[in-house]
Every structure is written in structure tokens, then in C-alpha cells.
Amino acid sequence: MGVLIGALLVGLAVTGLFVGVSDVTPGSVAAGGADGDAAFLLVASRIPRTVAAILVGASLGIAGLIMQMLVRNKFVEPGTTGVSEFATLGMLATMVFLPGLAVVGKMGVAAVFGLFGTWVFLRVIRVVPVRQLVLVPLVGIMLGGVVGAVTTFFAYRLDLLQSLGQWSQGSFATVMQGRYEFLWIAGLMVGVAWFAADRFSVIGLGEEFATNLGLDHRRVVAVGMVVVAVITAAVLVTAGMIPFLGLVVPNIISLLIGDNVRRAIPWVAGLGAVFVLACDLIARVVRFPYEIPLSVIVGIVGAALFLWLLLRRRSRAH
């Protein structure tokens, strides 16, 4: 299976480099030389886009995995817990109050709002019976709905709806050299998650187990919250909202190899990257030479997979 995901990753990444309106092929790059148009396009647009897709897919998968460990619920991810919506509200806040802020600043503010969102969500679900598997994400989606409504209201009143939409609609169409590098911060968070993998596994056993094993539960949860919030914000400012990925990818890996975080992380990251690369490729070729937003493709594929996971779970009498 590792070979399969690896082969898909490389295959999709290489294919993606040579799919687009302009004719960029290995031949045209070689013919034009290092200063040719094809080579320029490759370096300025196609490679950044491919790298961005890989980073977004890998990090969103990890954000979902970590969140599921923190909450001990398989159906949570930044998009079903209000975290994405809080981060978007943060984006709106920067547009209103700090319009001149550099993108990295926007990302920082969005991350702080996302962090606050995680905190709010964790507070709210304390009163929800944890074993009510579907109730927890339902509460999160409602929370997200409320925050999203507030964001839309102010964006509408301040005539910022369109620019907010441009930010938050998931797409790699605007990804270029110089406009995607923040995603490496999300990549760094994947590294943090990998480093602390065993701690997140232990947290997934619950607070009592974690305490018995001498782990500072609150500190690990805090680190996890930061990982989730920073990934959410970094993806939001570069590629927009990408639903379902954080939910579907860790669940598929969980079915295949289980939830030991150290073992699962490379798989979740790899499958997440494959998922986004594939969806981005579909988004670029369906209406060629036009593009449709990535979030539409991800939504359709992700929702179908999510339904399958839900029904499968029920058939196993969970």
C-alpha cells in the first residue's frame, strides 16, 4: 500500500506539472532552455502549485488526525468544529482593521482566531456526552454556522463579501512563486505533530490514561490546538477552505492501519497529498482550458467518501 500511495503521489505530482493552458512539456522545457517561457512557467507557477497541493493535503490530513485525537471523536476536523470559520472571521478582521497587513500577518491573525475557535469548541463539547459520536461534530458544525453567519453579516455590511469569498474559496489558481511559501509553516506543523506523535496517541486514550502515564494532558492539548490552528490558517490564506479532507483521509487510514499516530502520520500525510493533487488535477481538466474551484471537487469526492465511511460504520453496528 505504501508503494501505491508513493507511486500515486509521484505520478500525480509530475502529471500536474505538465497540465495547463500553456504548453509545458518536458520537451518544451528542454527546447527553451533555462531562460525559456516553459521553464519560467514551470518554476513560477507549476512547481509552486504542485508543492502547495502536497503541503495543503498533507497538513490538512494531519490537522484532522490531531483534532480527532484531542477530541477522541472520528468525525471532527477544522471544518466541523468551527475552527475554519473562526479563522475566516480573523481574515475578515484583518481586512477591516488592518487592510495593509502583509499576508503573513493575516495568517497570524487567522491562526489566533482559529486557536480561539478550538478553545471555544473544546469548552462547548465538555457538556456534550462524549460517547454521542455524531453529536460532537454536529455541535461543531452549528458553532461554525453561527460564526460563519456573523462573518457573512459583517462582510456584507462592509461590502467585503466578494474579497472574502476570493480568499476563502478553496483553489490553487492563484498560487504562484512568492504566494504559497507560508504553507511551509503548515509543513513545519506536520513535523511538530510527527515529533510529538506518541503524546497525541496517549492523549487519544483519554485524560485518565494520559495522567496515569505521566503526561501533562493540558500541555499536549495546547500543542495540538496550536498545530491545528496554524495549519488551518496557513491553508486558508493560501488556498482557501478545503472541506472534508481532514475528516476522510485520517478515517481511511484508521481503517487500514489503525490510530497509532506515529504509524499513521506518514500515511495520512501521503494520502492527503494524493487526494488534493488528484482533485486539483480534476479541477483543471474538467472544463479545460477553464478551471473550476478545487473546493467543489473536494466537496463532491469528500462528501461521497464521508457518506461511505458513515454507512460502513453503521453496518458494523457502531
Partner: protein, 252 residues
């Protein structure tokens, strides 16, 4: 030694553990018995630093539970609570491996791996080691939890009703194992039991709680008396001697 000095825990206005002073650890197996709501689980929660006492002091081998780093306590004290529900899909091996966390901090040494293998072997979980916990029977899962606690390799092991939901055979297996870990590995096990006959057969010492206070604390044989048990459980209990062992009859 686990020493409790004048420990009190309240939930709101209800006092669940009331000024309890007691030490554990002198004997191999100590059974903690008492009716529902006597404060047994709360006592475990306090010793295992899962709950904070409202008054009093708890120490393990001289280390104050309230102020000693949790990671240090995890090397000498392991607590298995009742009704463990794990949502994560983990294999038996994964779970037992996490028992080594206090020692390994996630980086397993040869020494850690040996403990993991020993614990799996001790609980006879070899055939199930790569099974996911949700694919096991209740008895197998309970054994996996006990194996995790054993892998933690602590001198003190606190087990809160480990016999819950187990059939006769598995109950006996767990109790035999508890006895063996005390006798062969030198561990000090404190175990909450509802079946007082198991307590009488396997424990060196029985501590009975009721209403948040310790009402009896003596070698097993001395607690297994009709008057003592009737007072603890507030119900008539007959005790007969069968093959030289006291057996409580409480079936009405």
C-alpha cells in the same frame, strides 16, 4: 508505601472521602471493598492524581502526589480505572507499548521492548497482539489493559474493579494473575472488588469502606465475619468455612 493522611474529598456538599488516613503497600495484594458510593473509586482517583483532594496529603514512597512531577509518579504508580473506553483504533501491542511511555517517552529501548514482550506473554496475549482492541472480547480487552499496566513496571498497581463484565473463568484468571504479580514480581497491588469471596481467596489484607470512611482494615480472614460484612454492606451476610476457606453467602 502509599500513605494517605487525613484525606478529604467533597463533591459540592457531599463528602465522598472523609478524613481518611491509611497506608497501602505493606502486603502483596490488598482488596478494597465496600458498597456502591463508598468512595473507593474516588480514593483511587485521588491517589492516581486524577482528582485533587480538598484536604490532606497523599504520598507515594515519600513523594508528595500533589507536587511531584506526574512523569516521576508514573514510574512507581499505575492506576487502571474501571469502564475504560478507548475510541482510537489501537492494537494490543500498541496499547501495551504505551504502558512504557513513562520510561521511554516514546523512544523504545531494548529494555522497553523486553518489558512489552514480557507483559504480553504474562497475559497470554501473544496470539492477539496485532488485533485491534475493538475486535477483542471483553475478557481479552481487560487483559490487554492489565498488560499495559504491567508493562509500566511500577511497584504499585491500583486496579479499579478489573473483574467488571468478565465471566467466571476470566475473573479467576485475572485474580490468579494479580496474585502472581505480587508473589513473583514483588508488586504491591491494591484492587477494588465487589465479589468479597474473591477478596477473601486472593487478598492478604481487606480494607472496607463505607460512606467515605474506612470501617474495617485487617487480614482477609478477620474481615470475613458476618458481623463485619453485615455492617459494611448493610445487609445480612453469612460466612461459612469451606475447605478451610471463609466463604460469604449473601444470596438471601
Amino acid at each position: 508505601m502509599i500513605a494517605l493522611e487525613k484525606v478529604t474529598k467533597r463533591y459540592g456538599r457531599q463528602t465522598v472521602v472523609d478524613d481518611v488516613s491509611i497506608t497501602f503497600g505493606g502486603e502483596g495484594v490488598t482488596a478494597l471493598i465496600g458498597p456502591n458510593g463508598a468512595g473507593k473509586s474516588t480514593l483511587f482517583g485521588l491517589v492516581g492524581r486524577l482528582l485533587q483532594p480538598d484536604a490532606g496529603r497523599i504520598s507515594v514512597d515519600g513523594m508528595d502526589v500533589g507536587s511531584t512531577p506526574s512523569s516521576e509518579l508514573a514510574k512507581v504508580l499505575a492506576v487502571l480505572r474501571q469502564d475504560n473506553h478507548i475510541a482510537a483504533r489501537l492494537t494490543v501491542h500498541d496499547l501495551v507499548e504505551f504502558g512504557r511511555f513513562p520510561h521511554s517517552r516514546g523512544r523504545l529501548t531494548v529494555h522497553d521492548r523486553r518489558h512489552i514482550e514480557d507483559a504480553i506473554g504474562y497475559l497470554e496475549l501473544g496470539p492477539y497482539r496485532d488485533r485491534f482492541l475493538d475486535e477483542l472480547s471483553g475478557g481479552q480487552r481487560q487483559r490487554a489493559f492489565v498488560a499495559m499496566v504491567l508493562a509500566q513496571d511500577t511497584r504499585y498497581v491500583l486496579l479499579d474493579e478489573p473483574l467488571n463484565n468478565l465471566d467466571l473463568r476470566h475473573m479467576t484468571e485475572i485474580m490468579r494473575l494479580v496474585r502472581r504479580t505480587a508473589d513473583e514480581l514483588g508488586k504491591r497491588v491494591v484492587i477494588v472488588l465487589h465479589d468479597i469471596n474473591f477478596a477473601a481467596s486472593y487478598a492478604d489484607r481487606i480494607v472496607a469502606m463505607r460512606g467515605g470512611v474506612v470501617v474495617a482494615d485487617a487480614p482477609a480472614r478477620e474481615v470475613m465475619r458476618p458481623d463485619v460484612l453485615a455492617a459494611v454492606y448493610d445487609t445480612p451476610v453469612d460466612v461459612r468455612e469451606i475447605d478451610g476457606r471463609p466463604v460469604a453467602l449473601y444470596y438471601g
